[in-house]
Symmetry: C2
Subunit: 406 residues, 2 copies
């Protein structure tokens, strides 16, 4: 799904002047050209490209750790005698671009107070999005994509303000949690006079290197999660905006972040067969109940004694796309936070998705799930946000969102 590293590194080298730009003794990874036995090795030095037509962290093969931070503009900084709200946002995006371009290649941010924590990017990506209300206020007139608006509230949702909305979002992903913590600190600190974190969600998948077989991630209910996902060839059709959109949105996408709580205590009261009927897949291999391997296409028409083998209200039957336009990129992370008072667990999924059109791709699936999904009894959306993700930065002197609000 990710671009091959060799291409990525080569493109980056064109933009930044080559491997010498790497700081702190970091070297290119195996797929790059340079390597020295005398400096540190390990995947900490692996680099994902920052510059290009798309932002990183979307087509990038998911890293082990993901931190999602939504920001609200500070009341006082929104607009004053000195500058407009749009200029404030442009200032934030310029700072984030400068920091992200350096941190993702293993160089300390400008005025980095802990430069040693920046030397191992471990495939760091930093993805920036604009909240739909903010976009309406500061974006070029009429440029907001039609489907870029908050999702409707579904009957089964129990949305909390503290996990929803936001003027801006950062998705910070890397294979090393120390890298993520440092990037978050730098990016949050440098804009604090203008914006303040509204919510923050820390997520994880299996550690890089724990499983060389490339199995799909399991969520904390034990299910294989994310089997029906996109391949590299799908991105132009289904993820990246193009055609009659504002030039600043070309190569961009729309991001949905749903925080989905799992009710593990009641889920664990189910026997194994009931769990598998609920999901529509076997728990061990993740194969659909009509198949034997995870990648097998589910056969929703297969009957046994006149009853569908995959129940019609199972999660897979409803989540499965009905037509190509219902496909989108799922890029979820697990969360497992300390339980609040009286809670036995505080566990779930940070369900991040990327699509070019939420109305056509995400919502038809979500409507079916909200209405019929057997899994709803054990999962509840408690947060929901939609962000407009501008295209990537194509030149070293550009910044994220420049064509939209510069």
């Amino acid at each position: 799904m990710a671009e091959p590293s060799r291409l990525a590194v080569n493109r980056r080298r064109l933009l930044t002047g080559g491997a010498a730009a790497l700081a702190g003794g970091a070297v290119l990874n195996q797929s790059g050209a340079a390597h020295s036995a005398t400096v540190q090795s390990g995947f900490g030095v692996d680099v994902e490209p920052f510059h290009g037509p798309h932002q990183g962290g979307i087509a990038t093969a998911p890293q082990s750790h993901g931190l999602f931070v939504a920001f609200d503009l500070n009341e006082g900084a929104k607009a004053d005698a000195r500058r407009t709200e749009r200029e404030t946002v442009a200032a934030i995006l310029r700072l984030w671009t400068a920091d992200a371009a350096r941190l993702t290649r293993g160089a300390p941010a400008l005025a980095d107070t802990e430069p040693e924590l920046a030397t191992r990017p471990a495939r760091l990506t930093i993805t920036v999005g604009l909240g739909v209300e903010l976009f309406d206020r500061i974006g070029p007139a009429g440029s907001r994509p039609r489907s870029a608006r908050e999702l409707p509230v579904f009957d089964v949702d129990r949305l909390e303000d503290r996990w929803s909305g936001g003027d801006l979002v950062l998705q910070i992903c890397a294979d090393d949690p120390v890298t993520v913590a440092h990037a978050n600190r730098v990016l949050t600190k440098n804009v604090r006079s203008m914006a303040t974190p509204r919510w923050r969600q820390a997520g994880f998948r299996n550690a890089r290197g724990a499983d060389a077989s490339g199995t799909t991630m399991r969520n904390l209910m034990g299910q294989v999660d994310g089997t029906a996902n996109l391949t590299a060839a799908d991105f132009d059709d289904l993820v990246w905006m193009s055609g009659p959109v504002h030039p600043g949105l070309a190569g961009g996408t729309l991001m949905v972040i749903r925080r989905i709580a799992m009710h593990l205590d009641t889920w664990d009261e189910l026997d194994r067969q009931s769990k598998e009927f609920t999901v529509g897949r076997t728990l061990d291999s993740g194969a659909p109940l009509t198949g034997s391997r995870e990648a097998d296409e589910p056969d929703f028409s297969l009957m046994h004694n006149g009853i569908p083998v995959i129940p019609q209200n199972s999660h897979v039957a409803l989540a499965h796309h009905r037509g190509t336009r219902e496909r989108f990129l799922r890029r979820p992370y697990n969360y497992d936070d300390p339980p609040g008072p009286g809670q036995a667990s505080n566990t779930g999924l940070i369900f991040a998705t990327f699509q070019r059109d939420i109305d056509e791709q995400f919502l038809p699936v979500q409507r079916r799930l909200a209405k019929f999904d057997a899994l709803n009894q054990w999962t509840t959306a408690i947060g929901s946000s939609v962000f407009v993700v501008p295209g990537g930065v194509r030149t070293p002197d550009g910044y994220l969102g420049q064509e939209l609000i510069g």
Copy 2:
């Protein structure tokens, strides 16, 4: 520092009947005997031994993720008509032992509701300790080690009840965060009728494989943290209890867990040289100010123009042992939690240490630091707990703490 894996695996095989005991297709790691190309590979299958004279997670080379969970006995379960408090604790320890013995070797716990999450132990260790007050109530009369008591409150401490104390503690460490989450869920759930989490601290170090050079971990202030640590030869002298202790404590140790908040915002206002004077080490290599490499022994007598090169109130000058008896095992993890209202960051260190005698080893150092450490201006202990860690389980039919309270 850890025992060589080959020995570890061989000892485990003696106890459990060999590699066939590994479940879910897991295989022994490179240093073990068995390997098959047809099953999953990667470090997820690496196993740390559970049975032996000592508990795991102490001499074990620190894993990437560490979760510390303190429990209080439920009021109703402490003692009733059916059983004494001691019998309740014994029941908990029997359950934890059975689960830990299975989970650490990659086998699902008994009645594991998500068995697929158990197949990649990734060097999982589960370490169990007893709070000092509980130990006093249920341990054999007179058996509590003299120094096993809560630490005095130091002037610079700002201890919060919600990060301190506890009847029991679990330290759950692995190189994969999914493994840690699942182990915590199993261990917490299975005893919930008897004990409830009091506090929970999630910590991390650099990801396994991010740096093959074996550099010491950096904390989130950017300092190399844990240079002056023990080597394998030190454990019998400095960590494991032996001699005139109760047989159930032989091979055990005492654990201190301090939650140390870092005031990064003011720390970051310091220039680099001031930071290095405060710590007594350079920030880039971690070398003492009198040396050039991290491992160089600090020379506290070296003067420059009549002034000590390493300031006398620097952290390293005060933390450095004065005599062998002041050495102990530091096994810290970083934390980086969502900031509370009005907080810019919520970052620090879970400072876990292991020693056979807190009075002789930990306290002299801590007293110096509390009084004079220049770093105190930017760090504050907000939690403190002491636990008695029984020796390991030597036979498959034994359980943790059996000789103490069985």
